[in-house]
């Protein structure tokens, strides 16, 4: 794959949006990979957390839009507490979710879509948090 870089890309709206929602400076990350190394959800991610940040640094909105990583993320903050540069990666993951979820009809989980037997089995805390994280 090829990336074309330009000022418009690396300082575009996407980067600004992610930085604003997350409150994080993407360029604070120096790509050491410690977040990916310790992420308990990484085994299921198509793009690892450090690569997600790398692509965000380069303004690669399209490729990130295809990624499952931030939908798999547990918000467990293992990455955040271990980041040597103090980047709150969990917040960047949240921001990437919100970039999508704030658009109409882009929910990953719908309250009405959950089967009754699942609803019966699940504790309330699971349902509420899932909806909080994965729907707009």
């Amino acid at each position: 794959m090829k990336i074309r870089l330009s000022r418009e890309r690396v300082r575009g709206d996407f980067v600004k949006k992610v930085e604003m929602i997350s409150g994080q400076d993407l360029l604070q990350c120096y790509q050491c990979g410690k977040c990916s190394a310790g992420c308990p959800a990484a085994f299921e991610m198509d793009i690892l957390p450090s690569h997600v940040i790398r692509l965000a640094q380069m303004g690669q909105e399209e490729e990130l839009a295809q990624a499952n990583s931030y939908w798999i993320c547990f918000s467990c903050q293992t990455c955040t507490v271990r980041c040597p540069r103090g980047v709150d990666i969990a917040k960047i993951m949240e921001a990437l979710r919100l970039v999508t979820l704030r658009q109409k009809n882009r929910n990953k989980v719908e309250a009405t879509g959950l089967p009754p037997e699942l609803l019966a089995e699940l504790p309330q805390i699971a349902i509420v948090s899932s909806l909080r994280k994965l729907s707009g």
Binding site: K34, C83, G86
Partner: protein, 441 residues
């Protein structure tokens, strides 16, 4: 200057920086007092197995210098001593030196070592980084080639001094040198210039809580002792927990360095090279073994360093993995390392036998007192601030007080030696300029 100048120098710290500065000044014809806190000069360098990129052994290249210091008519080594106070100014400093009680009359001690051989009490050896393999005795000399070659009694462990029992060292000493009633004493000296060379220590492993506290998770200096042919394992590579030969070994660089959020923002400068070196030496000792090095950037920027690193990869098949390690923990016999290779974008899990952490270099905590006494400026981490980063890299901002070696910032041996020479040159300029001016006048 109207006042007479005391053309004698004081050097605080007897590591390679202090040794080099002492020799340069002494060779320049001036008297040097070399104060060392431990029983022998040599510093961290004598603890090392071999040094990069030449793979010389420090026993071959440093001990001759130590001996030269010991025999130099212009050098007065004051080992097991500490600086108590300093007053005065350039040309005329008055320094009080505390001679810590050694409980051995060094004038009488011949260094024969009979006391050490007979002493029944073992204690962890500072020189061997307190590894399980290499305890010392309560009366000891830190290592075979110690300069001065004298014994001291460790008052915390000696049975005579703690419980008034034993006393065997006094019985066997052929020169009756043992003095259980010795006390610290203070000596006052006058010097014209001071070089601070108090060196470094490694940041404590326990500070990295995501990495297990485990006997088989060791720091760089501990592994140096294990690699050292004259070390406590006689150069046989064993892991501390069970003495087995480790076949998978993981090196973790930037352990505490380049971590502004939790530890230190700075780069410790030498770890890239020493990890590569240790991995090579490991591989030479354990040909079946495999070394892995986790890194962020390989910083091999000295003369022949890049070439050295390439040799490690090509000849010794070191596997370099670009990424910080997130977690280290014991699982049965193995030490599990959760890492990452940011280049393939894959997570890496290694089941290692031994893990070596390249802990951040920090200023030697034992130097804190000296810096306070001399009123030296330091950066927020405690490294001594030079008066100008470029133009005056060995001056401290106080006339007549200079800095050399890792007390100023992390640096490797060639840089330390060159910088120590630089500090010595300032002292020589000062003394020789004064004398030649006096001669002209």
């Amino acid at each position: 200057m109207s006042r007479e100048m005391e053309t004698k120098a004081l050097i605080v710290g007897g590591g390679v920086a202090g040794i080099q500065a002492a020799l340069d000044i002494a060779d320049g014809g001036y008297q040097v007092i070399l104060v060392e806190r431990t029983p022998s000069i040599g510093g961290h360098m004598v603890q090392l197995s071999e040094v990069f990129p030449t793979l010389d052994c420090p026993q071959c290249i440093l001990t001759p210098k130590m001996v030269m210091c010991g025999q130099h008519p212009n050098i007065d080594i004051k080992a097991y001593c500490e600086i108590e106070s300093v007053t005065g100014e350039v040309g005329n400093f008055t320094v009080k030196i505390r001679h810590k009680a050694t409980y051995v009359d060094w004038d009488a001690c011949t260094g024969c070592g009979q006391c050490e051989q007979k002493c029944p009490t073992k204690a962890p050896s500072e020189f061997n980084r307190e590894l399980a393999f290499g305890p010392r005795k309560a009366i000891y000399s830190p290592f075979a080639q110690a300069v001065p070659n004298k014994r001291v009694i460790d008052a915390d462990h000696c049975l005579k001094l703690t419980k008034d029992k034993c006393g065997v060292c006094a019985k066997v000493c052929p020169t009756q040198a043992i003095r259980y009633d010795m006390e610290d004493w203070i000596e006052e000296v006058k010097v014209g210039a001071i070089i601070v060379a108090t060196g470094y220590e490694l940041y404590k492993k326990e500070n990295l809580t995501e990495y297990a506290s485990d006997p088989d998770v060791i720091d760089g200096l501990e592994f140096e002792r294990i690699l050292c042919p004259s070390g406590p394992t006689a150069g046989v590579i064993k892991r501390p927990s069970d003495g087995k030969e480790p076949l998978d070994i993981v090196f973790v660089q930037c352990a505490g360095s380049r971590d502004p959020d939790k530890h230190f923002p700075y780069c410790s400068r030498v770890c890239c090279m020493y990890c590569c070196k240790m991995a090579m030496l490991y591989k030479h000792a354990v040909p079946d073994g495999q070394a892995y090095i986790f890194y962020i950037d390989v910083r091999t920027d000295g003369k022949m360093y890049e070439e050295f690193y390439q040799r490690g990869v090509e000849e010794d098949r070191i596997v370099y993995l670009r990424g910080k390690v997130s977690k280290i923990f014991r699982q049965g016999e193995k030490i599990v390392v959760f890492g990452m290779d940011t280049l393939t974008g894959k997570r890496v899990e290694v089941e290692a036998d031994l893990v070596v952490l390249a802990m951040a270099m920090i200023p030697n905590p034992a130097g804190e007192k000296v810096k306070k006494i001399l009123n030296l400026k330091t950066d927020e981490f405690g490294f001594i601030t030079e008066s100008h980063a470029k133009l005056h890299p060995v001056e401290t901002g106080i006339d007549g007080i200079f800095v050399a070696g890792t007390a100023q910032a992390p640096k490797d041996i060639p840089e330390t030696v060159a910088q120590a020479g630089g500090a010595a040159s300032k002292v020589l300029s000062l003394f020789s300029g004064y004398e030649r001016n006096k001669a002209c006048a």
